[in-house]
Symmetry: C2
Subunit: 895 residues, 2 copies
Amino acid sequence: MTQYVYRFGGGVSDGQAGDKNLLGGKGANLAEMATIGLPVPPGFTISTEMCAVYYAEGQTFPGSLREEAADGLAHIEGITGKTFGDAADPLLVSVRSGARVSMPGMMDTVLNLGLNDETVKGLAAISGDPRFAWDSYRRFIQMYSDVVLGLPHAAFEEALEIAKEDKGVHLDTELEADDWRRLTGRYQELVEEEWGRPFPQDVHEQLWGAIGAVFGSWHSERAKVYRRLNSIPGDWGTAVNVQAMVFGNMGETSATGVAFTRNPSTGERAYYGEYLINAQGEDVVAGIRTPQYLTRAAREAAGAKAASMEESMPEVFAELAGVFDLLERHYRDMQDIEFTVERGRLFMLQTRSGKRTAKAALRIAVEMAQDGLITEEEAVLRIDPQALDQLLHPTLDPKAERRVIAKGLPASPGAASGAAVFDADTAEKRAGLGERVILVRVETSPEDIHGMHAAQGILTARGGMTSHAAVVARGMGRPCVSGAGAVSIDCRARTMRVGSNEVKEGETITIDGSTGEVMLGAVPTVQPELVGDFGVLMVWADAKRRLGVRTNAETPLDCRTAREFGAEGIGLCRTEHMFFDAERITNVRQMILAGDEAGRRAALAKLLPAQRADFEEIFRIMAGLPVTIRLLDPPLHEFLPHSEEEFAEVAAAAGGDVETLRRRAAELHEFNPMLGHRGCRLGITYPEIYEMQARAIFEAAVTVAGEGGDAPIPEVMVPLVATSAELRIIRALIDRTAAAVFKERGASVEYLVGTMIELPRACLMAGSIAEEAEFFSFGTNDLTQTTLGVSRDDAGRFLTAYVEKGIFGRDPFVSIDEEGVGALISLAVERGRAAKPTLKLGICGEHGGDPASIAFCEATGLDYVSASPYRVPIARLAAAQAALRHRQAVEALGL
Amino acid sequence: MTQYVYRFGGGVSDGQAGDKNLLGGKGANLAEMATIGLPVPPGFTISTEMCAVYYAEGQTFPGSLREEAADGLAHIEGITGKTFGDAADPLLVSVRSGARVSMPGMMDTVLNLGLNDETVKGLAAISGDPRFAWDSYRRFIQMYSDVVLGLPHAAFEEALEIAKEDKGVHLDTELEADDWRRLTGRYQELVEEEWGRPFPQDVHEQLWGAIGAVFGSWHSERAKVYRRLNSIPGDWGTAVNVQAMVFGNMGETSATGVAFTRNPSTGERAYYGEYLINAQGEDVVAGIRTPQYLTRAAREAAGAKAASMEESMPEVFAELAGVFDLLERHYRDMQDIEFTVERGRLFMLQTRSGKRTAKAALRIAVEMAQDGLITEEEAVLRIDPQALDQLLHPTLDPKAERRVIAKGLPASPGAASGAAVFDADTAEKRAGLGERVILVRVETSPEDIHGMHAAQGILTARGGMTSHAAVVARGMGRPCVSGAGAVSIDCRARTMRVGSNEVKEGETITIDGSTGEVMLGAVPTVQPELVGDFGVLMVWADAKRRLGVRTNAETPLDCRTAREFGAEGIGLCRTEHMFFDAERITNVRQMILAGDEAGRRAALAKLLPAQRADFEEIFRIMAGLPVTIRLLDPPLHEFLPHSEEEFAEVAAAAGGDVETLRRRAAELHEFNPMLGHRGCRLGITYPEIYEMQARAIFEAAVTVAGEGGDAPIPEVMVPLVATSAELRIIRALIDRTAAAVFKERGASVEYLVGTMIELPRACLMAGSIAEEAEFFSFGTNDLTQTTLGVSRDDAGRFLTAYVEKGIFGRDPFVSIDEEGVGALISLAVERGRAAKPTLKLGICGEHGGDPASIAFCEATGLDYVSASPYRVPIARLAAAQAALRHRQAVEALGL
């Protein structure tokens, strides 16, 4: 029979750190900590496999689970010496979720389970603290009602407020045992009113209700959204951890805290965290009370007064520091830890790899490798390439004027400007219209995730460095300033106020997540310098990777940026973008409107010098590197005007009449332009266009080669080829033009002619097409559109539903659809190389900057990927990781 | 060294009938006739291989050819005893083209070559007929100037008219030797004026000029158009035949004629043809003089007076009749023959398989098989399936009133009505706008081909049954009435007049190509009865074929027609056509405009009864046969109105406001609807639509099954599937709906669920998709669009250029692109059958009615094809031929 329950604590560990898929991250690490002798309250984990069983069986549990769980409870009872439901000395437990990967705020937790009207008295007696006992009981009812019974929590909060008002006090801490007892009674009434039944007094009923609620929360809307945003499969499921309670709220010698073994924001080697005396764990994370620092150094740096743990509990702190060091050496990574001190005794409740900013990840990986704790390869594999995005974007210009109106915590690095908005829905809506927004909230909750995702940055008035806002923003790579207490937010009036400064919704503010500053207006930004840890890691990565990394660029600025980011050439230079230039579009339109070849040639002759100048500039920037230039691709109607006014303007400028122009535009209209008269089809029907472009390329190349620097290496790329005949015809035109230019100029350059493989037919015919080509570049945008029969521009209406229903694992325009599109690419690679072993193979669709797709390119044996300039470093790192993983996989197969 | 020249005649035959690819049809058959002892004037053939060499070498001839040709000339001189260029007894030759297949009117011919100012005198002396000699010389100059030198022929005709006027005569025959001599001098002046050089007197220069002109004409525009219309590859090339002249114009004992061994219009077993006394062959074909009948019976049947050949030349006719019988037995097919009688002596100039109407082809094939001359299999293989189209269209209703205004020859069977137009360009233009037109011409020439193709039928005032108009119209399957002499045509005024009846351009006329009648107005038509020879051949064909043949139909009329034509079920019933019905479109639009599922369900409930009634009717017509119903496929915006007025109408009818409607329409707009929110994507996002359709199908099926006849066999087809998950989700919906209906009605029917395979990804994933499907139907229209990346609606701008440049052998929307689309289909068949051996496989794109594509389906092992109702018999025959040829091919491989 399948085992579903795994025990830990008291010298027993049924699981270990490697069992994450089975036990979830939390459960596996609790077992591991127990194994290495750390003080873990005893408990047991119900495996993730039960999650699927639970749903398969109509949200019920098999009988065998109840038996196993009873054994698990007996295990806890044996170690703690307490008995579950015992009125004299009751065992209390926590019930928590724990999936394979951390999903902050997504899953629900119940604490203090096991309290009822009888056991609460026992707890009061045993603890000698009736106030603690009744406070725990009322917390349990409140949490259980919310999470398990699904009752609205406002009524409970209102009852608490009334209790404080009745007594004339402001803080929870001012309430006494009797107050809590009365409130508990009131809570029980509320449950009966709302639920229609009394609060469950049977502790086993409590336990199974809580376990069911954890499994139930796996399919909550919040969890689904988080999984979709983070590409977590829905069938992984969650585990449930049932563990003996320890109490950080048993007075002044008790405390609870969360900590990182290094600074997760900067990567600095310093204990980093927060704690609260006389509190339960949820109090820290929820950001309701502002917590205190762990170390004296941190407290002093922040100028805070409340004593650090190092100062207030020096002995326990020393023990904790030892645990930190042990855990980091044991796990060989920075750890994110939860602990509780119960009456001076330290308990470890959780450890896991800590989330960190990209900057911190780089520093930690580089330092650990330099210290010999991990290898350089491991360091390279530790960094999420996507996360580098955080470092590759502009930061505030240090010379720019800043009208700082407030300062909060530097919760997630980077700077952002945008219109202030005060709720997640508005953030999503305005961002959907293309506006840059900053989401401003008192504090954030899981319900705000879609708004955080849509926003450029997040600002909160409350909460620490480990608050929901901070953790989620770091994960998403959004700048975040948290806990800016001076900011007063009026959600109804849709304004925020700091002293005399008022910001209305829609007014621009700027936040700097690296300093915590909040500024009025938009502040200019500067490019990051990619040195230090970043530079070191990139050197290691470049040494490991096999794939070349080029860029998709056509403006001088983009070309320069990409070269600085390490691009080894241009993989896609789109010539049509150059045609839209205001000074040229008239000639372009004249060419399109010409009634015959002579008319087109006249207009093209006027375009030639400008196009040649474009290429000269690009060749100079990319001196010595290959530059793949794609000949004109879009259908000609894309260049024609749309509005009446524009028609008149163009008619005047092009010397034609509006009627002719409009008629020609109507003639050029297409029902499905994506599948229309474009790509090499233009070159076949209007060879003079490609002839002009080829001439511009070769004239520019000869000129730049003659200037004495490294010669340019033009690679002329023919788009949308479906047959070898198309390429043969156009290739002949290009070669003829090159020969003519070289003869005229008395000088020549090396060049290649190749094609974009972006149609299923081209993949199938790759063998014969390769005979005409020196290179293939996979245009995976269009190849995805045609293979799947999905127009990217129109897919919005159903693609989200497709990803949600699991029809597509991920958006196929973001990550290559390996089964379909990938299979065609593999076929094309195989057939192309068989026909021409020297064939150069690359990818220039937007997938070229996507790490998962890069791994596919590595496995498929392409020669290079090409990505947008800001994604070049991401591609370099992803390529290195792909090479390392591919080698590992090959070695694992014993090849 | 490659042999390029092949001799024939005088007991020598370097070639034979099987050498058509090398020698062209004419050359191969001349060699064959010489071999079997028929009187063929001696000559030689320059092979088709030289055509390619000629173009490859910049339109020049290799030296070796000149040597071989000299040997060929010596061969002719040896047999005839005449010498080429000899002033005393000159050898004259004809130079003619001859490709693999006959291309009537496409290629050029030169007669009487070898005449010059000296040899003409020798010819006059030897023949004793100076008039004949000078007439021959002037004909030669005229023909050579036109064909070889490319001079305008109007000036020559004008000079001839002036000569007749000067002499005061009307007919050529009234001119005498001196008149022709003087005209020859005038012709030579014209040549020098236009060409700038004197007419070539060197007979070898004449010969090579003519040979070059034949090869040159292969790439004339006319030839290209003909090849494109008839799918003849441009690289086949033509051969050139050089042959001793024999003369039908040497007086009253000479004649020339063309004949068929059976009637090519009806297939009747009777010699059929025309001849002219004292004429050259071109005079018959050109339709300038109205020729006489061959047989007495034919003359009498036509009520003609001029003596038949049987009557005027009984001995030669008897010899000719013997040749006819010999040739038919030898070639085992009806022959199309050219002959000349020179002073009582018969010469055979050509034989070839005769073109015939579909009706004649059927009768000839069936009769020859019944006579044991060919096998039933050969009979089945003899009929061009495309040609059946002629028989499958309506003919004039015999009961309808006809206002017959003229009668011509029944040149190509079938009836047609349309607007009279008087030139080919107008015909093409008006037809392009969707109008049905009848092209009316005095006579047609190769320049008219595009207009003949565009027209519904052709009417000419001059020309016989073998005139250009008649031959081409029969080839194209267009009805044609030729030689309607009472019709007077004024091309300038754009009218035709018959007695007092005037028809202006654009007025409707009707022609009946089976009777030769020309009628005013449109005459109603009736369906053909498919019995007699057609029925016999179809029985033979059905016995040979393996592929099933279904139809694409959704209206009761189409379903009935298809079943009468032998359809074995419906392969594609498009449900969206039913949605456009005027009474339903409002509910459809209401459904689309609904803001939520409840609104959609309300509108769908109103559509259900109508949809159910559709299916009941179809199930009754197709009782006992499978009916494949495709669930809704097009994007919803196709159902929305376009004009302002319609918007207002719909808003009023649907109870919404115009603004909402317009906004929703704008929301639904797609950039590439072909790749948009359609097909099963609708079923995934709006399951209620497919649920309604499934309910309508099953309710209708249960009802019809309960009526006591054969039960319907619904096959529910899910369109545009790209992943197995889509099909799994929708299949579950269909099965659930079926189960619900069967339970409600207490009765069930057998049904299948399958999918259309119309995306490249679906072909690649056919293995996993097959696990969810009971059948695949290849939707080759969309599969071609996506595999090639070509929108059929937009392809017009480049597809013609692509076919002309040979990039595509044939329009891939007409005949399956076997290399690309075909490869994907093969892959899908293989993977689908591997996953599910019982998988039913069919095709329902328009390729299902194309014989070449049907051959592909046979070879690929599909189970059935599905074609439009009128193409069902074509598909049955094509399937039989494909099976026979496939078996032959397999046997040839010794498998």
